[in-house]
Every structure is written in structure tokens, then in C-alpha cells.
Symmetry: none
Subunit: 122 residues, 2 copies
Amino acid sequence: MSKKSNSKVLAGLERVGGFASAQELHLVLNRDSESIGLTTVYRALQSLVDEKAVDILRKEDGEAIFRLCGATHHHHLVCKSCGKTVEIEGGVIEKWAEQSGAENGFRDIGHTAEIFGICAAC
Amino acid sequence: MSKKSNSKVLAGLERVGGFASAQELHLVLNRDSESIGLTTVYRALQSLVDEKAVDILRKEDGEAIFRLCGATHHHHLVCKSCGKTVEIEGGVIEKWAEQSGAENGFRDIGHTAEIFGICAAC
DNA sequence: ACCCATAATGAAAATGGTTGTCATTTTCAT
DNA sequence: ATGAAAATGACAACCATTTTCATTATGGGT
């Protein structure tokens, strides 16, 4: 029976495309006339993380954000002043993360990377 | 005046040696007859992070943990399970950030990058 | 079809780390 | 010493997440 909520949540994550917090996901799902409780969203996310269908990360403020596992991910170049965001290729980073992790005996390696600065317009 | 609490907190971090949460730090400090409030510990940690004297990371449950920051700019490889941390050289990243930023007309470029995984012992 | 055990659901309350409030205290320059 | 400004800390507010618990759906055995 958890199957149903799990697939709703997966659908939500697909719709969102990138990262989403549990609460955002709950909003999105209910906005689209999917009636699902916040508790259930949390439980579905937890079980999806357990079965490694979903990645969990932490924002700087500690809030958990989730994304589909294996979704191609990119990095962001964000303007500290106006918030303008550019998507960046990160092939170098993937390799760096993989290699650094492996060298130190780590497995299940993931990473986060953001670049920030002031854009030309600001 | 924040100087005093900041140095108390720094002393606490030295005594602890590695990572400590704000609450642990508060306990340690008061156990050692340093009278300091929890609020002040949080504020001191925040300002130390701002002035880059202290690193902040997140445990898996989202709790913030802090430690003294070495002078050299490095990145971290963190075990998602036990919190073990390895410092990583990030020369590649610096270049990647600089270049990606410049290509898009950004200035004052900074970046964050963390690698995480499961360490050999876990 | 009909029970019934079991799992799933979600509203509401509890938890716990973190941050905001504000009255009080300390510091420092004059 | 005195007043302004910064610092402090007890307490309350906040908010993401978890727990509780009563209700509802599911599905296998008869």
C-alpha cells in the first residue's frame, strides 16, 4: 500500500525536475489535486531513500532536500545580489569527487558544488 | 565584546579537538566552569563561521556541527554514516569555479564543494 | 462475498535544534 | 563617573521532522 504514495511522490519529484524539500513536494502534490498528507510524504521519501531510489541532501540551513537518484545533475552559478542562476557543466567535478572518494576508500560517493559571485548586470 | 564569547567558544573547540555541535559545546564549556549561555554559543559560532575561523557541516540528521578551520582552503570528504572527515585538495575546483564564473561575466567568485559517501569502516 | 489481520494513512501533538526577543549587564570613549 | 552602544542570556517563538493514535484501505483465507 505504500506503493501508491511512493509513486505519487516519485511523480512529484519528476515533475519538479531537481531538488525539492518534503514540504515543497507536499505543496506541489496537493496543488495538483493529489490528496496526500505531509506525514505520508515524509514516510514515502524515507522509504525511497532507503531503497536508494532517491538522494537526500541538506541545504545550508539544515533542511533536507531530495531528488531522483540518477537524474543528471548540473551545478549552479548564482548571483549573490540578484539571484540570477546559470547552469554549469560539472564533468570535472564528477571526476574529482569520484576519484577523491575512491582514493580514501569511500563508496556511494556523491557531491555538492555551487559557485556564487556577482553577475555582470549587478 | 563578542570577543570574549568568541574566544571561549574557540577554546572549547580546541579542547574538543574535532567536531562539536552547538549544544555539545555549550555543555563542555559550562562543565568547565565557563558560564556561557546557549544563545551566546550559537551567536559566537555564527560569527566565527562568518569570519571563516570555523567550519560548519551538517550531520545526517541535519544538526549543525562545527570545528576549527585550518588556514588552507580545503574541501571535505564526509562519511554520511559516521561523520568521519577527510580533507581534500581542491585545486581543480578553484580553477573550475574561477573559469565558469569568468565565462559568464561574474566577479567576486566563490564556491562551495563537499563530497560525501560511506567510509571503509562503515 | 465476507471476515479479519495487517499495513497504510493523515491530523494533531510532541520533539528538538535553532533563531528571535528583550530586559539587563558590560565595555569603552569621553 | 556617565551615557551610548554592544554583548549577554533566559525565555519564547519557529519550523522541519517524527511520533501517536484513531481511522481506513488492502488482500488473503474461508
